[in-house]
């Protein structure tokens, strides 16, 4: 395994903690060690009078030892101004010095820039530096700028640059001051930067087993050291360190001498790494984003660590967002530590209250990175605080939530509890069980889980204000923030299962609106539902709009819209808005779940929409799988939904586009419907309504059936008219089928008319309009083109002739001779020509003038109304008594040539006349004698009969 791999693996890790300072120092070692190696060489050569320039260049590169350089330069300068004059300085040598260190190019440059700044000391190293610089680039300033730009995209990140600059500034001021000082003072100062080095080195060498882990991080050494720098210069220890004696420094220098071997091996391992480090991520890519986030996070961790160090034990657990936990168990997985913790309610002040506090808390699973874990050194029974930001991940099968991104952890010791404190100071090796995850278990990303919880599945606890130094937790703390954005699910089932019947507060489900129709209102249904056809109402108070929706998994739901918000009169508008579109439903509640047996009408409609034309998603299967076949069983249940009081929303997502899942009604010929369509199946057609017959009210509630006699071009054009086929088909409109007012108005007034029947039910050979059937005068906006000629009928309408197969409740044409008159039903009476009032008062018997009480005036020319029922002899039914109630028009034409005497007509004058009538068959009876009772109906089609 090459070192660069490990180096890379350490690239992202930066979570270091106050008590981890030694770790950091160890990391720093990787640089300081190499610096030390060159320094030690220099030290050796100092005695030799610096004959060789190579050594000089090498230490010149070490940024961390600026003072050392400064100090060592005077001896150098005394060596006959060698650097200034000696042209024999080989570029190769310089290259060696820069590549001899184990630093990446970027860092090399960083060091170099540090070196450059140091030049301002005005010492003789200037020339060397210039040469070094020339070796890389001919110009001075651009190089600096270039470095800034480059490191911007590097792992080291922004904070590095900042601190780097800060440090540079520091160096410069140091340099300036030191140049004005006496040489003895300089000598004293030289020791200062070495203060850390000896201890580092000794730790480094004594901790060789850790090198594998730690040396990976040398890529980040520069920023970390930069962050470290202010710490060192701030403290009082620095003053102490300044007073160290030269002998101390000599000792440390001796210690340095031991390290180069290590260095050498490392150098050989990382030749190509510097090139990799420079790799830039795709602009705007996710990696670039994460890199930026990571840098920000890293700098906050740096600050936190610093602050934590300065006030080491700060029981700050009462701040919002801080998790107070007691570790129950601890184990290791991969490089993570997993702690099962109990959440504590309050801060345990003393032992007794801790016991009280740890009763009945929620359990949490906390993950720690290796870095955090080593700094925390948690053990069961320890109490830890986790400061925000942390993340909470809710697992779908586990009841224990997982806490992640736990970079800001603190172990808490109460004053009395000193033995615990001791434990952290003596690094006792804790035996932690290590679990090795199985490789056989792959991750399934296709989640059939609810969508509702997903917004809470990952919960970020917001950042505390990290930029304010000196206070870890400020008043600006923000507590737990809930993501309030609604999440959209594709599955009705998921939402229903997770949200329960109570209602979906947040959840939103994406569905396709398959149909829009009316249903009678639940509360009024059966009580005072009446469809008063003669007085068309402007509003349909008893109807509510419903949507039949289907999700991507094929599950249907019927959404009953609030009648208060969606009037039935908005039907046209609503269907234009919603039908066939993908909509998001939110704020719904489930009224009930219904089944095939309980709602046959609903399921007949659903069946007509099954199977879908496009592949459905299947729960628990990959959606990429194209092989999902349409062999799915038809749905066996359907949810009835209603909108929550005022939160219910139906939002169209793509207004212009119809969903692939949408199945528009396919308009068929009536003939096809009569011959082909299965029983109890929905069908749509377009037909001419010839005649409307209001059925007698059979129930006292006033529910009325309506019969429409319809035909279409296909039925009319049938050349070989077979006996079993009707030319005119009766369509029953049940009371549950709610008609629009425009339809209601059209029905008596403008017959015959073209009408569109959507989703009518065929049952027992009859076509029935039931609930969810829509009758409209306009062609539906969206309907399948089944190559049906929807043109109006041309020419006279042909009816079925009266014959032996004629049944009651049909229409037929009758040809026959009048053989008799039912005198008991033959009347004529005058009515008011204005108001149609039939109860006119006879004013003057002789003049025959009438008075209309409702108009309060004399009726000058009253209209004579007549009623006559005749018996016909029909050639097609010779033995049958055919009784027809005639229309006035027919009566008057019959009586046209009869002598009239005071309104009385001779029966004989009518007998023997031939008539051809269109009739509605009221009743057909064969017992005791064959008889048919009919009623003449008006002109059918465009032309008049007779």
């Amino acid at each position: 395994m090459s070192c660069h791999k490990r180096k890379r693996s350490g690239g992202g890790s930066c979570a270091l903690f106050p008590d981890e300072l030694h770790v950091r120092r160890k990391q720093a070692n990787s640089v300081t060690a190499e610096v030390a190696s060159s320094l030690s060489k220099t030290w050796l050569r100092c005695g030799e009078g610096f004959d060789s320039v190579t050594a000089l260049t090498s230490f010149g590169c070490s940024e961390k030892k600026p003072q050392a350089v400064k100090h060592l330069v005077p001896p150098l300068a005394s060596v006959a101004g060698l650097s200034a004059t000696d042209n024999s300085i080989e570029p190769a040598d310089i290259r060696w010095s820069s590549s001899g260190s184990d630093l990446s190019d970027a860092e090399g440059k960083a060091l170099y820039s540090g070196f450059q700044k140091q030049n301002r000391c005005g010492l003789k190293t200037d020339k060397l530096c210039n040469m070094l610089r020339e070796d890389r680039s001919s110009e001075d300033e651009p190089l600096l700028i270039d470095w800034d730009n480059e490191s911007d995209g590097e792992d080291t990140g922004d904070e590095c640059i900042l601190s780097e600059k800060a440090e540079s500034a520091l160096e410069i001021s140091d340099s300036d001051s030191c140049s004005s000082r006496t040489s003895s003072h300089q000598l004293e100062e030289v020791y200062q930067p070495h203060k850390a080095t000896p201890t580092d080195i000794s730790e480094y060498s004594s901790d060789n087993n850790r090198v594998d882990d730690e040396d990976c991080r040398d890529a980040e050494v520069v920023p970390q050291m930069c962050l470290q720098r202010p710490l060192l210069t701030d403290g009082e220890e620095q003053e102490q360190s300044r007073r160290r004696s030269a002998s101390d420094w000599l000792k440390s220098a001796e210690a340095l001498l031991q390290t180069p071997q290590k260095q050498a091996t490392k150098t050989s391992k990382t030749p190509e790494d510097s090139a990799k480090k420079r790799k830039k991520f795709l602009r705007g890519g996710l990696a670039e984003r994460l890199n930026r986030l990571q840098n920000r996070e890293r700098s906050s961790i740096g600050f936190w660590r610093h602050q934590c160090m300065s006030n080491y034990i700060t029981p700050s657990g009462d701040r919002p967002g801080v998790l107070k936990l007691k570790i129950v168990t601890l184990h290791e997985e991969c490089s993570m530590q997993v702690a099962v913790c109990q959440q504590l309610e309050s801060l345990p002040v003393d032992v007794s209250s801790r016991e009280a506090a740890s009763v009945g808390e929620t359990k949490l699973m906390v993950l720690f990175t290796k870095e955090t874990a080593t700094s925390l050194r948690g053990a069961p029974q320890d109490i830890i605080y986790i400061h925000p930001p942390w993340q909470k991940l809710v697992l779908h099968d586990e009841s224990i939530p997982v806490i992640m991104n736990t970079y800001f952890c603190q172990k808490i010791f109460s004053q009395e509890n000193t033995e615990m404190k001791d434990r952290t100071h003596c690094p006792k090796k804790l035996l932690i069980v290590r679990k090795i995850p199985s490789l056989a278990q792959i991750f399934n990303l296709n989640d059939t889980r609810e969508s509702s919880n997903q917004e809470s599945a990952v919960n970020q606890i917001d950042h505390i204000n990290m930029s304010i130094p000196g206070s870890i937790l400020t008043e600006d703390n923000q507590g737990q923030q809930q993501l309030s954005s609604q999440t959209v699910s594709d599955s009705l089932l998921e939402v229903v299962e997770t949200q329960g019947v109570a209602g979906w507060k947040e959840a939103c489900v994406r569905v396709v609106v398959q149909r829009i129709y009316f249903l009678p209102s639940q509360d009024t249904y059966g009580n005072h539902l009446q469809r008063n056809i003669s007085v068309p109402s402007a509003l349909l108070p008893n109807a509510r709009l419903c949507l039949l929706v289907q999700d991507a998994y094929g599950i249907f739901s019927e959404l009953q819209l609030q009648s208060a918000r969606y009037h039935a009169e908005d039907f046209e508008q609503c269907s234009r808005l919603w039908e066939g579109k993908v909509c998001c439903l939110s704020g719904m509640k489930i009224l009930r779940r219904t089944t095939r047996g309980r709602a046959p009408g609903l399921f007949s409609l659903i069946d007509s929409l099954w199977p879908p034309l496009v592949p459905l998603k299947v729960h628990g299967q990959s959606q990429d799988n194209e092989d999902v076949k349409m062999t799915l069983p038809p749905p066996s249940f359907c949810y009835i939904l209603a909108a929550h009081s005022d939160q219910g929303q139906v939002d169209v997502t793509e207004a212009s586009q119809l969903s692939d899942l949408y199945l528009p009604p396919v308009i068929h010929h009536l003939k096809e419907i009569l011959q082909v369509v299965d029983l109890s199946h929905r069908c749509s057609f377009c037909a001419t309504v010839l005649y409307k017959k209001q059925a007698k009210s059979t129930v006292p509630s006033g529910q009325q059936e309506l019969w429409l006699f319809v035909t279409d071009a296909g039925l009319q054009a049938d050349p070989e008219h077979s006996l079993e086929e009707l030319r005119v088909v009766p369509v029953c409109v049940t009371a549950s089928c709610i008609l629009e007012s425009s339809v209601i108005q059209a029905l008596p007034a403008s017959l015959p008319c073209i009408m569109y029947f959507r989703d009518a039910l065929k049952e027992n050979g009859r076509i029935i309009c039931v609930e969810r059937t829509i009758l409209s005068l306009q062609k539906p906006l969206l309907c399948g083109t089944a190559a049906v000629d929807l043109s109006e009928l041309t020419g006279p309408v042909k009816l079925d002739e009266l014959d032996s197969t004629t049944q009651a409740n049909t229409v037929c044409s009758v040809q026959g001779t009048v053989i008799g008159v039912d005198e008991s039903t033959a009347f004529s009476w005058p009515v008011c020509e204005r108001c149609g009032n039939q109860n006119l008062e006879l004013c003057n018997e002789r003049s025959g003038s009438f008075y209309c009480s409702s108009c309060s005036r004399a009726v000058v020319s009253p209209v004579l109304r007549m009623q006559l029922e005749v018996f016909l002899h029909c050639p097609s039914r010779p033995r049958c008594t055919v009784k027809v109630k005639l229309l006035e028009k027919t009566i008057s034409s019959l009586l046209r040539f009869c002598a009239c005497e005071d309104g009385n007509y001779e029966v004989k004058s009518v007998l023997g006349k031939k008539v051809e009538l269109h009739c509605y068959v009221h009743a057909v009876s064969s017992h005791p004698s064959s008889s048919i009772r009919m009623e003449e109906i008006g002109p059918l089609g465009a032309e008049n009969v007779n």
Binding site: M1, G12, L293, P437
Partner: protein, 138 residues
């Protein structure tokens, strides 16, 4: 108790998928979560996703695998029915040291699936066998 980390990782990847499906983007929290759970591999895996380096290879027999073009230009094979990658990092840090749950290539394959960033490639059964039995070019 079973290992927690795979469960967490799976859940996190699901969240990534969901987030991407619904908003066509991934939140910062998820990115940091990925980094927390998968360590440095996350950054490199995301880079591989950015570069569209993952190819989902299928053949008529039903065998599938992921071919991931590594940053070095070498392509590695990740199985789709268990966690395996032909890269040296997998051999070392996953198999040998058990330090990581996945290598960056497997993670990239998952992330590409989640973000629908997989290139699709169908090859013959024979070609698939050759891919699976490919020898290292050493």
């Amino acid at each position: 108790m079973d290992a927690v980390l795979p469960v967490v990782a799976e859940e996190l990847l699901k969240e990534v998928k969901k987030s991407y499906q619904e908003n066509s983007r991934i939140t910062d929290e998820l990115l940091l979560g990925l980094k927390f759970v998968f360590g440095p591999s996350a950054l490199h895996a995301l880079d591989l996703v950015d570069q569209l380096s993952v190819t989902h290879v299928t053949c008529p027999s039903g065998r599938t695998l992921f071919q991931v073009l590594g940053s070095s230009g070498k392509s590695y094979i990740c199985y789709s029915s268990c966690h395996y990658c032909s890269c040296p990092a997998f051999a070392f840090s996953v198999l040998r040291k058990n330090d990581s749950l996945l290598c960056k290539h497997i993670l990239a394959a998952y992330l590409s699936q989640a973000m629908r960033a997989c290139q699709e490639l169908t090859i013959s059964n024979q070609q698939m066998s050759q891919m699976l039995l490919a020898k290292d070019e050493k």
